[in-house]
């Protein structure tokens, strides 16, 4: 009985994994085929590797620029929102702020709105108002980093709050008694204990910024274009370069996979942190 159910669940999960992973596999298959082979009868298994798409992408200066932009924007944004979110949660959990539950909820509502809502106002503001002389935030990396705060900061506050709530305030007080300043309390006690939660927040916000398409597509032209928006440039009026697109997609996937596998165990630790704390 027991053995049978183990087998059943094994088969079930293998099937589920195959179904979910198949598109990714197919993406890979497309990326290593020459364009002429794409529309022939599909083969399920690879017979040969065609690396030209990869070479094309890697030697393309524009695409390399996009990749760099994506990296800077998502890392910059993740660091910024995690830092700000951490400090906000510290204040929310440690100080007697009037109406702090309302502040918390209000922050979350920003995340609930569909991103498209922010599109038009942000575009107009960035082109006409957020400018100093000739410098405007439109089509800059810093501009994107700031824009992503709209969605990522609420998210960071939301994920970090249980973590900080779970760290007993007695520890803060003990540290104050031991002669620590507020900053020392944070750096010596609160932050080290919040590390799993911080890691999870960093990662999830990073992945969000890395994958974001809509805002990046509208608020950048050339200088700050990211990899996801770069993808769409391969759909042109003269045809679609499927192979190159697939290759770029693979490149978009890889960092997310790496980040996920690195912090996978922190996710579990982070999500249960508040609960297991005595």
């Amino acid at each position: 009985m027991k053995r049978q159910s183990t087998w059943l669940s094994l088969v079930f999960w293998i099937a589920v994994s195959l179904i979910t992973l198949f598109p990714i596999y197919w993406l890979f298959v497309i990326s290593v085929k020459p364009a002429v082979d794409l529309f022939t009868t599909p083969d399920l298994f690879l017979k040969s590797f065609y690396w030209q798409n990869y070479l094309d992408v890697l030697t393309d200066r524009t695409l390399r620029g996009y990749m760099w932009n994506s990296l800077i924007v998502s890392s910059g944004n993740a660091l910024l929102v995690t830092t700000l979110g951490f400090l906000a949660c510290y204040a929310l959990t440690r100080y007697d702020l009037g109406g702090k539950e309302s502040i918390f909820f209000w922050t979350i509502t920003n995340r609930m709105a569909p991103p498209a809502v922010f599109l038009l106002p942000l575009f107009l503001l960035m082109t006409s108002y957020y400018r100093i002389g000739n410098f405007s935030l439109l089509d800059t990396k810093i501009g994107l980093i700031l824009v992503y705060c709209t969605l990522n900061l609420p998210f960071a506050i939301w994920t970090l709050r249980p973590t900080l709530d779970g760290i007993p305030k007695d520890l803060d007080e003990a540290a104050y008694m031991d002669g620590a300043s507020s900053w020392k309390v944070i750096s010596e006690v609160v932050f080290p204990l919040a590390r799993p939660g911080v890691a999870v927040t960093l990662m999830l916000t990073w992945v969000f910024a890395w994958n974001e398409y809509l805002l990046a597509a509208t608020l950048t032209n050339f200088n700050a274009r990211t990899l996801t928006t770069g993808l769409s440039e391969y759909v042109t009026t003269t045809g679609t370069e499927w192979g190159v697109m697939a290759t770029i997609s693979v490149f978009t996937l890889i960092p997310a996979l790496i980040v996920f596998s690195l912090v996978q165990k922190h996710i579990v630790a982070g999500l249960t942190f508040g609960a297991v704390k005595g």
Binding site: P168, D170, E173, A174, G179
Partner: protein, 353 residues
Amino acid sequence: MADVSIKDVVKRYGSLQVMHGVNVDIADGEFVVLVGPSGCGKSTLLRMIAGLEAISDGTIEIGGRVVNDVPPKGRDIAMVFQSYALYPHKTVGDNIGFPLKMAKRPKQEIDDKVGRAADILDLTKYLDRYPRALSGGQRQRVAMGRAIVREPKVFLFDEPLSNLDAKLRVTMRVEIKELHQRLNTTIVYVTHDQIEAMTMADKIVVMRDGRVEQIGTPLDLYDNPQNVFVGGFIGSPSMNFIHGHIRDQGGKHFVSDEGLHLPLPETSASDGQAVSYGIRPEHIGIGDSGIRMKVVVTEPTGSETQVFARSGDDLIDAVVKDRISARPGDEVGFIIDPARVHLFDRETEQRII
């Protein structure tokens, strides 16, 4: 080392006042215990001395300096929390050394002092362990190590033993007392356990509902409770109280509402005055003479026996060293020494004798 002087201290949370003008003087090197029932404001007072809680009104002086606006860091005091509040991500050694690290002492000095504190508290073996791998008593000692390592002017303890089992509590009680004799630092110690208060304190402050009820040495509080509350709170098992009146018929004596006649010492109480008659169980003897009482329950503990007995609706308990053969339902004589009787006014609950 320093004395602590608490003057007319008031604490308000918004419009809610929880401390109503508290005055306590603590001499240099004294072991003072704040005791009282749950919610009476012991922790709040301690945290005001620590600087973790703002003082709404009045002043607190440490070593002659008013510290109302001084943050904890500047008060040179150490505190042991009920939860111990050990830093879970630091080793025992780093926990104990943390105050010195915050004071930016040189590494060598930190190591020396941590070593010495660990030695005093018998923690040398555990310096590299993390708090989660320690027993309750060991954690308790680490928390004390963290407090003594900096040689502060004053130690504050907030119910440090309440998470330990009964036996360990007795051991730690002795250890804390020993530590005090060794370091001679002023200690303010909070507990709701009157036995802890009696055994450890040089001076006890009994609190109720944000007010001080009485301050004195343990024996002073035991012998001369100023009111019904202190009489009932100090001493275990607690004092018997019987409601009744004074009768003056050629010599005063006490008559309970149930008609029980009890002896009195010399008193200024007047005929007909409504009073509460207080007598401690250990000041009642059992014999063939005395007031006739019917035994309800006997509780032998080996070293002594507690006897609950009834006369009418008055229930009185006595504690005697002898083994008692009386069984429930039997009649025994309760012998009360008038010199040990406490008398309180029924209205004001204040002491008469």
